[in-house]
């Protein structure tokens, strides 16, 4: 009932690079020894954007990958906070709080499908790396985006050995022409034992819809990383409520930051979530 925050810490790291991947995607790399040593797949960090009181609040970002004492974050400049992150220069300080939240349960066998929509790619490199370290090799990444240039490059999902990545774009500029859920539909025939999903909440709802419509049994591991506007990121503001089905299938509010962001997809009240106005965008 109370979150485990024992590994979370404030850490001011150093920006090493902000790489432009094309199409607006950015990869921020920073030296953050504490975060790199403690981040689990699916956990996130609260990043301070700029030093002014406007924007005021930190922004949550999945830890995309870790390497020695560095961490990577993948994002796009969509608003005030991400624009400030995009403008960071090598050597600039990066004020972080993390790792926060509950990550994915990393399975140690079976066949795995990762479903990514847009920036939902972010947690997967770290997850795939962890899966591989546990011996899981049967990993399929389904990567969807609006257009080709916004697809996170396949070779970045895992290093050095690239996993199998199937791509889908809304405009057909690369891979399958259509939503990533259509790729998922096809992939279900191979009966994956674990499905991990990340993307906008609406896309996650569509993933759940695809699974239910398929009529197949839901895989034993079925998890999604959800989004909610956050005040704190560590369970004290109660701002990041998400509708979850409680014991008797009655909807209760759970906190994205400490009960999530990764939640069993079976537990989420997808209808309730769809009925909510979207996350706040400036």
């Amino acid at each position: 009932m109370t979150a485990d925050l024992s590994r979370a810490a404030l850490e001011t790291g150093e920006v090493l690079v902000v790489e432009r991947l094309g199409g607006g995607l950015l990869e921020l790399v920073a030296r953050l020894p504490h975060l790199a040593a403690n981040a689990m797949p699916g956990t996130f960090a609260q990043l301070r954007c700029g030093t002014s009181t406007t924007p005021l609040l930190r922004r949550p970002f999945s830890v995309a990958w870790t390497h020695d004492d560095t961490c990577g974050f993948v994002f796009e400049a969509v608003g005030a906070g991400t624009r400030l992150l995009a403008a960071l220069q090598p050597g600039d300080p990066l004020d972080t709080l993390g790792p926060l939240g509950n990550g994915f349960s990393v399975v140690d066998s079976g066949s795995v499908v990762c479903v990514s929509g847009g920036l939902g790619c972010a947690p997967f490199p770290l997850l795939i790396n962890a899966l591989r370290r546990r011996g899981v090799e049967d990993i399929l990444v389904l990567n969807g985006a609006r257009t080709a240039t916004r697809l996170y490059p396949a070779e970045r999902f895992a290093r050095p050995a690239v996993p199998v990545v199937a791509e889908a774009t809304d405009d057909g500029t690369r891979g399958h022409h259509g939503p990533v859920t259509e790729l998922l539909q096809q992939a279900l025939s191979s009966r994956p034992t674990a499905i991990y999903a990340c993307g906008p909440n609406a896309m996650l709802g569509a993933v759940m819809g695809t699974l239910l419509e398929s009529g197949a049994d839901l895989p034993p591991t079925l998890e999604a990383s959800l989004e909610a506007p956050m005040g704190c990121g560590f369970g004290t503001c109660l701002g990041c409520a998400l509708p979850v089905l409680g014991e008797d299938r009655v909807t209760v509010w759970k906190l994205c930051c400490t009960d999530g962001p990764v939640m069993p997809m079976r537990d989420v009240d997808w209808d309730g979530l769809r009925a909510l106005p979207g996350a706040d965008v400036a």
Binding site: R48, R58, A228, C240, D280
Partner: protein, 290 residues
């Protein structure tokens, strides 16, 4: 501790805070999260999340929205209810040296009285803060916006507790000093000011209000000059201790409240940005400076 470090603060009825810097209600939960992140026991007080007679699920999301230099919230008093607090949470405070002041909210005098009564025998509770000023539930402001109603509530609560009762004032009034005087006369031991300001944000893409109830409460550095004016007005009006809250982000912005006459402060929204803010405020305050 340096010689110049801020000392203890006597709020009356046996409640002495070890130092003036506390964590504001609704921004520190019941302490269990922050206890893992910071050395919470160095602080002067923890004011809990607003607690009601029955458990409350809170409002539908989105519940928070950022604005220039501030944030709106519409949590809707999500809390486990006073019985859970008394039986499940209080035992976990045993051994904490930070005084725990339970913030109480309700829709009627009876609800407040019930909550305070339930907490009266709970030894881990150091004091009571009456939230008569929450803008995010129906009737949440009625008591706080009318001096007579506020006095009626305080008198009823006064009758059932020997504990220090701090009344948390709403700034959304014509004359906050009048409300402060009314609750002082009705038996409040101290007042805290201010709660959040009623604000609204429009979703730029949809053109609708971001928060589901339309409005929410504004907090954060944007309100600091307003809170400071309100607290100065309260300090000039009453003789009981005044606790200043609103937009504190560092020792300098906290000191402002002590200069205008507050004896203690609460750090709210800034804790979200940096959980160590209250400790930094404490370490930055020098009694010679105010």
């Amino acid at each position: 501790m340096t010689e110049n470090a801020p000392g203890s603060v006597d709020l009356g009825r046996g409640l002495t805070l070890p130092n003036p810097v506390g964590l504001a209600s609704g921004t520190a939960g019941y302490g269990f999260e922050l206890e893992q992140l910071i050395d919470i026991n160095r602080l002067g007080a923890l004011y809990t999340k607003g607690t009601t007679m029955d458990a409350r699920a809170g409002n539908p999301p989105p519940r928070v929205a950022e604005t220039g230099g501030g944030m709106l919230n519409s949590i809707g008093l999500q809390n486990p209810g006073v019985d859970s607090v008394a039986t499940t949470y209080a035992p976990r405070w045993t051994g904490w040296s930070i005084p725990i002041i339970v913030n109480i909210a309700g829709g009627s005098v009876d609800e407040y009285v019930h909550c305070v009564s339930v907490l009266e025998p709970v030894s881990e509770v150091a004091g009571i803060e009456l939230n008569i000023s929450c803008p995010n539930i129906a009737q949440g402001l009625d008591f706080g916006r009318d001096p007579a109603e506020a006095a009626r509530l305080v008198a009823a609560v006064r009758a059932v507790t020997q504990r220090c009762v701090i009344v948390k004032l709403s700034p959304n009034v014509t004359d906050i000093a009048a409300v402060a005087r009314a609750v002082e006369d009705a038996g409040a031991d101290a007042v805290s000011a201010v709660n959040t300001y009623i604000g609204r944000k429009i979703h730029r893409a949809t053109g609708r209000s971001v928060l589901p109830l339309g409005t929410g409460g504004l907090s954060g550095p944007a309100i600091q000059p307003l809170a400071l004016a309100a607290v100065a007005a309260v300090c000039a009006a009453v003789h009981i201790p005044v606790i200043g809250v609103g937009g504190i982000i560092d020792a300098a912005s906290a000191r402002d409240f002590l200069i205008v006459g507050a004896c203690a402060v609460q750090v709210g929204t800034a804790t979200f940005v940096n959980p160590e803010t209250a400790l930094q405020v404490l370490d930055g305050l020098r009694v010679d400076d105010y």
